[in-house]
């Protein structure tokens, strides 16, 4: 049994207003420098003669700082969504399966360090969707990061691409296998995302900031994000328009 609901953020119910976004962005900028320095120092240490246990710890520092840097980068990107001349914002036909494979390869060391893995479900007939490559990549990275921390050790997080029955929509989902969301948690997830990011607890210890970021990125691509609850975990997904180039395949 599973339950699903879109998590689109209505414009009148923005979870973070402009001032809050501005503050978050300023904080993200300030955090970037020390985080980048921590990562560089860890890389330098990793290149030196250290024991296996020390190297394992150094790699954890590197991976953790990279995770934090991704978050700061996402926050500064959210702030730039409103810029009139955002030349980096271009929509194009994208093969989401290939993008997922690239992301899975990039995140493999992080997942491996946590005793988990990432798998991409293969489609015989590839689907194309219309998106901004950078923003879609950030959404999938975000969901994958979320799945990493809520999946059971030894399990694989699955990336799945589906064509929905509602015409012209493609769903990219990130399925984790971990503790089921309680009814109470599920209701809060559905309800509170629309109102206050501080109150979102999609999962224990989650601030909901990642969901907010993903919803902002999806919205500017005319897409939506959502979640499906399973008995043994959850799927977080983004839905976007299918590319018309699909018919040429």
């Amino acid at each position: 049994m599973k339950k699903s609901e879109g998590l689109g953020v209505e414009s009148s119910e923005k979870v973070i207003d402009a001032i809050e976004v501005s503050s978050l962005t300023a904080a993200a900028h300030e955090l970037k420098s020390p985080l980048a320095l921590v990562r560089q120092l860890a890389l330098r240490l990793d290149a030196s003669d250290v024991s296996d246990e020390q190297r394992r710890l150094i790699q954890q520092i590197t991976l953790t700082s990279e995770r934090a840097l991704r978050l700061t980068s996402d926050l500064t990107r959210v702030a730039r969504l409103g810029e009139v001349n955002d030349a980096l914002f271009e929509l194009e036909p994208i093969n989401p399966e290939q993008l997922c494979r690239d992301i899975a390869a990039e995140l493999a060391p992080l997942f491996e360090a946590h005793g988990r893995s990432l798998a991409v479900s293969h489609r015989v007939h590839p689907l194309l969707l219309v998106a901004n490559r950078d923003l879609l990549r950030r959404i999938i990275m975000n969901f994958s990061d979320n799945a990493l921390y809520y999946s059971q050790p030894g399990t694989a997080v699955h990336m799945q691409i589906q064509a929905l029955t509602k015409a012209g929509t493609i769903r990219v989902g990130i399925r984790d296998f971990g503790p089921a969301l309680s009814n109470d948690m599920w209701r809060k997830l559905q309800k509170k995302l629309r109102h206050s990011p501080q109150a979102i607890h999609a999962r224990p210890q989650s601030s909901g900031l990642g969901l907010f970021i993903a919803s902002q990125f999806a919205e500017v691509m005319n897409g939506t994000i959502g979640a499906t609850r399973h008995r043994d975990g959850a799927t977080f997904y983004v839905e976007l328009q299918a590319s018309r180039q699909l018919s040429l395949l």
Binding site: H29, K32, S33, R39, Q40, L41, L43, E66, S73, R77
Partner: protein
């Protein structure tokens, strides 16, 4: 030997980057901010400049404008090494002598030596 002017206001990061560059065979002169960078450029005539963007005091852009004001300094290639890489476009900055942008948040240790070699060729 290729001389590099490293303009970086974080002393720990500057030390780390300088160590990597020296290890790769470059001569490195460090400046923590734009005004001292101008003085060092006059003194040492570096072959290339590695420049952070958000510096204490004047930003890198003030320095880039200054460099473009003089015939000798405008020819010095510049590599930006910054946390703001994703907000910058190389095409927009080429007119200021910027030849590469290195993202501090994702760079590996050997990215700076590799960027210098890519800009100058494999001349040491």
């Amino acid at each position: 030997m290729t001389s590099v002017l490293l303009v970086e206001d974080d002393p720990w990061l500057a030390e780390l980057e300088a160590d990597v560059l020296v290890g790769a065979g470059f001569t490195v002169v460090h400046s923590p901010h734009a005004p001292s960078a101008i003085a060092k450029i006059d003194e040492t005539q570096p072959d290339i400049i590695i420049l952070d963007v958000l510096l204490t005091g004047s930003t890198a852009f003030a320095l880039l404008h200054e460099l473009q004001s003089y015939g000798d300094t405008k020819m010095i290639p510049v590599i930006l090494c910054t946390n703001m890489a994703e907000s910058l476009k190389l095409e927009d900055l080429k007119q200021y002598g910027v030849r590469r942008i290195v993202d501090k948040t994702t760079m590996q240790l050997d990215d700076l030596p590799a960027a210098i070699k890519a800009v100058l060729g494999n001349v040491m």
